[in-house]
Amino acid sequence: MSVTLEQAIDSRQHQNLLSWLTSRQVFWVFVAAVLACVALSLVTDTFATERNIFNVTRNFAFVGIIALGMTAVIASGGIDLSVGSTVVMSAMVTGVVMAAGMPFWVAALAAIGASLAIGAVNGLLIAYAGMPAFVVTLGMLSVARSLAMVLSDNKMIWEFGPDHDLLLWLGGGATFGIPHPLIAMVVLALATGFAFRWTRWGQHLFAVGGNEEAATLTGVPVKRIKLSVYMFSAFTAGVTGILMVGWLGGVTTNLGQAMELTVIAAAVIGGANLAGGIGSAFGAVVGALLIEVIRNSLILLGISTFWQGTFVGCFIVIAVTFDRIRNFRSSE
């Protein structure tokens, strides 16, 4: 079926702001998250407490930060399964370097450096050797966690040398009542959102995800874009790793296990399309928020946390179903 010339001319994409909003998956996920929050505030007297809000916002920030990196990867048509292992690698490097008596900034630089190295290996293999992202990052998931074990001799680290208190303050503290991980997430989300919309890098990564062949033919540096995207994803995981050590006050080698799945779930619920080309920074944040609200509400409502997976899983499917129905309608 083809569209005639007149129809094409007459067709408009969106009549007004409302129809634009309602056509976005992110909007509905955001509504769902807000409704859940309102309902919980009414039903429980524990949700809307300062302490609980503090916990929720801090907890979701960790997933939210990495979901930003994951959204970039997914929008470019790839996937990064190694972020959970990158988190533990970054955390472990931070721990080991600080425990050896180094100042925090040295440890942080080393941790980010290690994370970027992981991302660079992923990116080089995927972009320049042309290997499938799924396989490369699955391998890295195994390698990075194993290296973290080697690095720490699989021991817990909980004493961080001279800057011990600074690290704990950074990860677990708050400024003006706002937990630091949340501040980090907001800053990164604004920067990512800006980069997606207003820079060549953003335009190019969406072009690569939309039609890699076309991007190549029009002179987009496809390989460099892919490399940078995996390094960005590893960077977000690295930042999260440092913050998580500070929050937990200790680091073990099972940190961040299975986190990649939660992060991918957050990105997908937030509207990132695994086929590539679609995703937003705001969506990543909202997806992460919804997952944390579900988790939190189950605890507050006294429902066994065993149900958490069911709820999150259903939300992934529902979110994508919405998208399908919308596409189905607009293709008619």
């Binding site: 083809s2 569209v3 005639t4 010339l5 129809q7 094409a8 001319i9 067709s11 994409q13 919309r197 207003w198 820079t199 060549r200 335009q203 969406f206 072009a207 995800g209 939309g210 039609n211 062949e213 076309a214 991007a215 033919l217 029009t218 002179g219 987009v220 080309g277 679609i278 607009s330």
Partner: protein, 246 residues
């Protein structure tokens, strides 16, 4: 002066002779229909003009000066633009973003280069207006008809004021209504004094829009004549080999 002149172009891949002694001339504002069966050497010739391949022998002259292309970008700098068969568009981007893909305009704001959407939308809108297309710069390519997509792909070639536009099967996969639209787009390019090489299998399209017909058969140019002095029957004969040369 010819916009493009090929003299004695040959290309062999190992023992395979893809093109042999091909010579042709295109004037500014002329549309040449390049026809031939599959494997006749059409795409090899196009790739040589576009800088993807280097000829094994022969010369290329653009506007009277000898050129040598090592990469597609060299050809682009000399004013050669291509509309690819699959159009090379990203469905998930707007029309304007597709027009500017790979050469986005930016404005320096402090330390960062920010995309200059205002100018890109404006210029893309002007190009669509020039092409008399109803495509709007902010529309997503995903929701466009085949004709509108062609307009986007053609508008992209106009960004650099090209001398020669190569079009690879622009009417292959679209409806009859849209074919007319695309042929009009080609005429507008021609009216701007651009030389156009139209590669097509569709005889009626070539006879509607082309000034000259060239036919390749097994790597050799077997015809190069005005459309008015040829006929679809003759061209079919030339393509298949029923007619030796004309």
């Amino acid at each position: 002066m010819a916009a493009l002149e090929l003299s004695n172009i040959s290309k062999n891949f190992g023992a395979i002779q893809a093109l042999q002694d091909v010579s042709m001339k295109i004037e500014p504002g002329e549309v040449v229909g390049l026809m031939g069966d599959n494997g006749a050497g059409k795409s090899t010739l196009v790739k040589i003009i576009a800088g993807n391949f280097r000829p094994s022998a022969g010369d290329i002259t653009i506007d009277g000066s000898h050129v040598e292309f090592h990469k597609p970008i060299d050809a682009q700098r000399k004013g050669v633009e291509i509309v690819y068969q699959d159009l090379a568009l990203c469905n998930n981007l707007t029309a304007a973003s597709n027009v500017y893909l790979g050469r986005e305009l930016t404005a320096q704001i402090g330390p960062v280069k920010v995309l200059d959407y205002r100018t890109m939308f404006k210029r893309a809108g002007e190009l669509f207006a020039e092409l008399k297309s109803e495509t709007r710069p902010r529309d997503m390519v995903k929701r466009m008809s085949g004709g509108q997509r062609q307009a986007v792909a053609i508008a992209r070639t106009l960004l650099t004021q090209p001398k020669i536009v190569l079009m690879d099967e622009p009417t292959a996969a679209i409806s009859v209504r849209q074919v007319a639209e695309v042929l009009n787009l080609i005429k507008r390019l021609r009216d701007q004094g651009i030389a156009i090489i139209l590669i097509s299998h569709r005889m009626p399209d070539v006879f509607t829009v082309a000034d000259k017909i060239t036919v390749l058969r097994r790597g050799r140019l077997v015809a190069d004549k005005p459309v008015s002095k040829s006929s679809p029957e003759e061209v079919t004969g030339l393509i298949t080999g029923a007619i030796e040369a004309a």
